[in-house]
């Protein structure tokens, strides 16, 4: 006899009675972000019209993935973020990674480069080449990619406030290799709003920073058809302590704001939207992360199609890079981080990521060693080639739990959109410290849960080992800073000072004139070997600097 719906209801009731008869463990069943989770999800938790809401891969609303074939067609790009010391040292690491099967490059810059300071600035003391590679002039950029065919490899650059300057360096460095800008493939992060929200690396006040970014997007849409001029990033928002829903909401709202600005400049949405890409965190709460990526695709597709009227289906696709959560790594029992990273990476893969960086287990202690980096890359290769998870597309699609969590996180994101709109949009909300405050509250709450032992972090507040054995760590070379300053001085001595000055004067004039696009001017400055610090200073002469009023 077939089971009728009413039988099903009574079966569910029966289950509930049995379930409630046995005591539950005395813990809180919530996600890492604090979302309460039911003991069981059933068919009744699916959306009303599952076919429309979930759909098929490569079809609107793209819940199940942006491409029809996903990993059956092509695996994600294994892209390990690397950079330290001098351009020469990082160039060596890049070649090492390419030799070990990595398929794209991702550049980490040092703090002075990220903040627009030269290596010889007093503010750079102790930071040169430490957290990434030091790049002061075109000369460093040429060295960084020496012997690497920029027409073949796609290169990602994690660079934000001075992104337009670094892109100019990159374009000229490639040109010297004989590769024109329209052949360059890759991504520059250049997501400035999340800097004010979370990562806190800035050069200019928000409004001129938005203009510089807009200039770059506009220029790229004309000159660099294979380039992603912005990677709209939730990673740092999450690292700063946000919840999954906040990461999703603030990131997508940042992205929608960039779309709005570009449309206001007169660009056709379909001319640039296909080149926008995203960057998300993969935290350790497995299903919550997967739901986040699925919801993100659906929201982006809907907003681009319905709100902005994009006609090209490529404009609707939310393609994204994933990095496992640095903040989930513990300094205690660092090998446990291998396990955390593997689970996070798997969430990224089951969430349909286009590229992935896996963190190294020693990164809560220092920059990673070469062995740790290799193990992190091997983790991705094991997922890709041994586990079988790539055999079928979106294997979790239709899961009662995953679909329900996807709907929930999507609704939460729209609730944040509403609040941000009430504040006058994202730029106004950031100026009012709204996302900053939400993140600070969420991160404090989570820390309190951990401190109180309500949330277990293995090796930190449970299963603690006294006398841990020491891990071999990467040590920065103290000579790096001195050598880099010497390199910079040598470039300064070699170049034509008059040409540098003249190019900076023209840059200042263009900066003062809202209507002119700064990119061609930045390329001119690059050719004269003007340093990053000199270029940023010239812009600051016009734009001023930014000072945060922190909330905690």
């Amino acid at each position: 006899m077939a089971i009728t719906p009413s039988d099903e209801f009574s079966l569910e009731q029966q289950w509930r009675e049995q379930f409630e008869a046995a005591p539950e463990r005395d813990v809180s069943f919530t996600t890492l972000s604090g979302v309460p989770i039911e003991p069981l999800y059933t068919q009744s938790d699916l959306p009303d019209d599952p076919a429309a809401a979930i759909g098929l891969p490569g079809q609107y609303p793209f819940t199940r993935g942006v491409y029809p074939s996903m990993y059956r067609g092509r695996l994600w790009t294994m892209r390990q973020f690397a950079g330290f010391g001098s351009a020469e040292q990082t160039n060596e690491r890049f070649r090492y990674l390419l030799d070990h099967g990595q398929t794209g490059l991702s550049t980490a810059f040092d703090m002075p480069s990220l903040m627009g300071h030269d290596s010889d600035s007093p503010l750079s003391l102790g930071e040169v080449g430490r957290e990434g590679v030091a790049v002061d002039t075109l000369d460093d950029m040429e060295t960084l990619f020496a012997g690497i065919d920029l027409g073949e490899v796609s290169v990602s650059m994690t660079m934000n406030a001075p992104a337009a300057v670094m892109l100019a360096y990159y374009v000229v460095a490639a040109e010297r290799q004989g590769i024109p800008a329209d052949r360059l493939a890759g991504t520059i992060q250049a997501d400035i709003l999340k800097e004010y929200i979370a990562q806190k690396e800035w050069c200019f006040p928000i409004d001129p920073a938005m203009r510089v970014m807009g200039d770059m997007i506009e220029w790229c849409s004309q000159e660099m058809p294979r380039w992603h001029p912005v990677s709209i990033s939730g990673y740092h928002i999450r690292e700063a302590g946000s919840t999954a829903a906040q990461e999703l909401a603030f990131t997508l709202k940042d992205g929608l704001t960039y779309v709005e600005e570009a449309v206001e400049r007169g660009l056709d949405v379909d001319d640039f939207a296909p080149r926008l890409s995203f960057f998300f965190n993969a935290q350790v709460d497995f299903f919550e992360e997967i739901a986040k990526y699925r919801a993100a695709r659906r929201i982006w597709a809907r907003e681009l199609k319905e709100t902005f009227g994009a006609k090209n289906p490529k404009s609707w696709l939310m393609r994204f890079h994933t990095q496992t959560a640095g903040v989930s790594l513990t300094a205690q029992q660092p090998l446990n981080n291998v396990v955390r990273t593997a689970i996070e990476a798997l969430a990224g893969v089951l969430g349909g990521t286009q590229s992935l960086h896996t963190n190294s287990y020693d990164e809560a202690l220092a920059l990673p060693t070469e062995d740790a980096v290799r193990l992190a890359l091997r983790t991705q290769q094991i997922i890709a080639f041994e586990t079988g998870v790539t055999n079928t597309i979106d294997p979790l699609g239709g899961s009662y739990f995953v679909e329900s969590l996807t709907d929930k996180i999507e609704a939460e994101a729209y609730e944040y959109f509403r609040k941000i709109d009430e504040l006058g949009g994202m730029v106004a909300a950031v100026k009012a410290n709204y996302p900053q405050r939400e993140i600070a509250d969420a991160s404090y709450e989570l820390q309190q849960e951990i401190d109180a032992g309500r949330r277990v972090v293995v090796g930190v507040n449970a299963y603690v080992e006294e006398d841990e054995s020491q891990t071999a760590l990467h040590r920065s070379d103290p000579a790096t800073e001195r050598n880099q300053v010497e390199r910079l001085n040598a470039v300064r001595a070699r170049r034509n000072g008059g040409e540098v000055e003249a190019s900076l004067v023209r840059l200042r004039e263009a900066a003062a004139n809202e209507g002119s696009n700064l990119m061609p001017l930045l390329i001119d400055c690059t050719r004269t070997y003007a340093s990053e610090g000199e270029i940023v200073q010239a812009l600051q002469d016009v734009f001023g600097k930014y000072t945060e009023s922190p909330v905690f």
């Binding site: 703090m111 600070a440 404090y444 945060e548 905690f552």
Partner: protein, 140 residues
């Protein structure tokens, strides 16, 4: 209640020297110390050693917590400690937090850093440490 019997409210400067923007930890600590009844002055990001020492002096702080995640601690901390002693300040409890390799901790302590808190340190441990370290100093 007279001044003599009033419990001294500990004044702490939480500072972010250098260029790194990782302020999650600093802000959590600042808030936890505030919730524990301390007077907290958070400097904000990207502070030079000179700016931090100036804040410590101006705020008449009992303690200063330096949060560094960029790896520049062996450059920045000695500079701050030297600037403090140049100003004749020897009674401010200096602590450091962040990604600090274990090997560097003895050296930092030799410089006069009272405690180093690495990732995973519970906020209560930091509160307790400051309460007792500030309490043990000679009364000012």
């Amino acid at each position: 209640m007279t001044a003599a019997t009033a419990p001294h409210k500990i004044r702490v400067v939480v500072a972010k020297p250098g260029l790194d923007g990782h302020d999650r930890g600093a802000k959590i600590i600042a808030r936890a110390l505030r919730d524990a009844g301390m007077e907290v002055i958070y400097t904000g990001l990207h502070q030079t050693p000179e700016q931090i020492v100036e804040t410590v002096v101006q705020e008449d702080a009992d303690a200063v917590g330096l949060s560094i995640l960029s790896g520049a601690h062996m450059t920045l901390v000695p500079k701050i400690v030297t600037l403090l002693s140049d100003q004749g300040i020897d009674d401010v409890v200096v602590t450091v937090g962040g990604t600090i390799p274990a090997d560097d901790i003895p050296e930092l302590k030799k410089l006069g850093v009272a405690a180093v808190f690495t990732p995973g340190a519970p906020t209560q441990e930091i509160i307790d440490f400051l309460t007792s370290a500030v309490g043990e100093r000679e009364p000012r």
